[in-house]
């Protein structure tokens, strides 16, 4: 895995909390707090976590919709932290949004939507018609769709158009922010198939943001689980889903609804997560997961855990992996 396409290094986003008549800054929300992540060429990396975990904020920083407070972003070996919003960088990284209903302008046709990136990035207008046709073909839509308006399309068709728009500038990385969560299950499967096919054809990398863990299991090569702005566990899809080590990952997996007893048997023997994710404005001391962790012990209150390498591909941020600290606390079983 030499030569990563994208490397996030201690990426953080702090939002100021303003209050009162003069909008005084009274505190900060650490939406993303020191995230390290790599994506290789052609790789699909998933980011999972509950709402409020900061996974969308990571996505929005990468595409330049938000400016990181700290940390660096390296793209293709080059530090691009200062160029996140620039045209040159936008040509290489694109995004597909969550809600196909609102990611297309209701007043503009499919062709209009696809022309925006072509015009901005200086593609000669004589070739637009041909490009639009081939983009629509790539997402398996007939060329006649170019003249249609969003209200004439189904959710799945809209999302295909949104994918075509992201592909228009021939990017190397596409950030997929819950691209299928607003779609029917049957449509979901087709969009995922399409995304996999396009990845193989164009050798794209995806950063896939989702709270749908079963989808993530099938789609992603590697998966990171985020909790309150920090990565809790990171590993290959198999590492995470077959051998989850962090109590939070175990809890998340236990809460996936299943259809058969055979599947039920595969799930970790772990109680469901209790309670709600705390507010990122008021992060618990020590380990930020301790308020909901079934294994929490004294050290968790005082010391923030660091990543423990469990294998070459698998790391988990939990004191249970530290024999010196865990002491009497029994290690968790997968």
């Amino acid at each position: 895995m030499s030569g990563n396409l994208l490397e996030l290094n201690q990426l953080s986003k702090r939002f100021p909390v303003r209050k009162g008549l003069f909008q005084r800054v009274v505190g900060h929300v650490n939406a993303v707090d020191g995230v390290d992540l790599t994506i290789g060429r052609g790789e699909i990396v998933g980011l999972a976590g509950e709402s409020g975990s900061g996974k969308s904020t990571v996505a929005r920083m990468i595409v330049g919709l938000l400016t990181p407070t700290e940390g660096t972003v390296t793209f293709d070996g080059e530090d691009v932290s200062k160029q996140l919003g620039t045209l040159a960088f936008k040509r290489r990284v694109q995004m597909v949004f969550q809600n196909p209903g609102s990611s297309l302008n209701p007043r503009r046709s499919v062709a209009d939507a696809l022309k925006v990136p072509l015009r901005v990035h200086g593609v000669p207008s004589s070739t637009w018609a041909e490009r639009i046709r081939s983009l629509l073909e790539m997402v398996e839509l007939p060329a006649t769709f170019a003249q249609k308006y969003p209200h004439e399309l189904s959710g799945g068709q809209k999302q295909r158009v949104a994918i075509a728009r992201a592909l228009a500038v021939q990017p190397e990385l596409i950030v997929l922010d819950e691209p299928t969560s607003a779609l029917d299950v049957s449509v979901q499967a087709k969009v995922i198939e399409l995304l996999l096919r396009i990845r193989d054809e164009l050798d794209l990398a995806y950063l896939f943001i989702s709270h749908d863990l079963s989808l993530m299991r099938n789609f992603s090569d590697r998966v990171g689980v985020m909790y309150l702005g920090k990565l809790a566990e990171m590993g290959t899809s198999d590492d995470l889903f077959l051998r989850p080590q962090h109590p939070y990952t175990q809890g998340l997996l236990a809460s996936i609804p299943v259809v058969s007893e055979a599947e039920e048997a595969l799930k970790p023997t772990q109680r469901h997560l209790k309670g709600e994710i705390p507010s990122p404005a008021n992060v618990p001391s020590g380990c930020r997961f301790r308020t909901r962790c079934p294994h929490a012990f004294d050290a968790c209150r005082e010391v923030a855990p660091t990543f423990h390498e469990l294998s070459a591909t698998h790391a988990s941020r939990c004191h249970l992996h530290d024999p010196a600290l865990a002491g009497s606390a029994e290690p968790t079983k997968a």
């Binding site: 694109q94 995004m95 949004f97 969550q98 297309l104 302008n105 901005v120 769709f145 003249q147 249609k148």
Partner: protein, 291 residues
Amino acid sequence: MSLTTPRADRLRAVRRAWYRFRRNPAAVVGLAMVLLVFVVAIFAPLVAPFPEHVGGFVDFRNRHQPPSWTHPFGTDNAGRDILSRVIFGYRISLTLVVFVLGLAVPFGVLLGLLAGYYGGWVETVIMRLTDVFLAIPALVMALAITAALSPTLLNSMIALALLWWNWHTRLIYTTVASLKHEEYVEAAKVAGASDFHILFRELLPNCVSVISVKTTLDAGFVILIGAGLSFLGLGAQPPTPDLGTMVSSGANYLPEYWWGSIFPGLAILFTILGFNLLGDGLRDLLDVEVN
């Protein structure tokens, strides 16, 4: 499903919209009234029975004639045909509407787009400015402006335009402030689109329905306030056949020669009613379209 051509699709959409519009009788009546006023005003010299009565024409033998077949609206204190003068009066009213809204709407919409999209100090400056203008009653302000300048039609048009933009600014500001968080705006940003593109290609088309409804409803009020100004002697000066001026000069001879005020007054009512019915109809129509 996609057996039809895009052109046929669009034609069908237009026909569907027209069908929905036609099912609202009030809106159809409003459209007919507005069209009638426009046609009559444009072809005034052909439509008016006595086009020569419009200027400084005087015929004292025929002054204060009651309504008859020759003079359906009667004659005024100088013996001029009131119907002819009402028809020419519509020209003034419509010029006023086009001039005032033609200046105020684009300006107000532009400021609303900027305030809504950029927020921050741009929003603070623009929106506080609209508050200042909203705090002053429109008619009082128009009186002050026309009195400070000189009472001519042009000055009253300028005064009204100065008072009108802020309503559109507020309307577009609230619309844009909610639209700018739509994913299609963010998608355009991610694609690298300029602010100009986002403001005028992504946001403005989504404001067109509110702007057109508001502008249609405004047309009636502009005519009303314009007539109010000229009633007070601050608009078009005699012998120009302005509806407000006619109501005012006819009022001197009430109640005996009632037709001198009543018919120009009814003519004002007719246009305002037309624009309002049409505006309400458009609003119903476009709300359906948007949802």
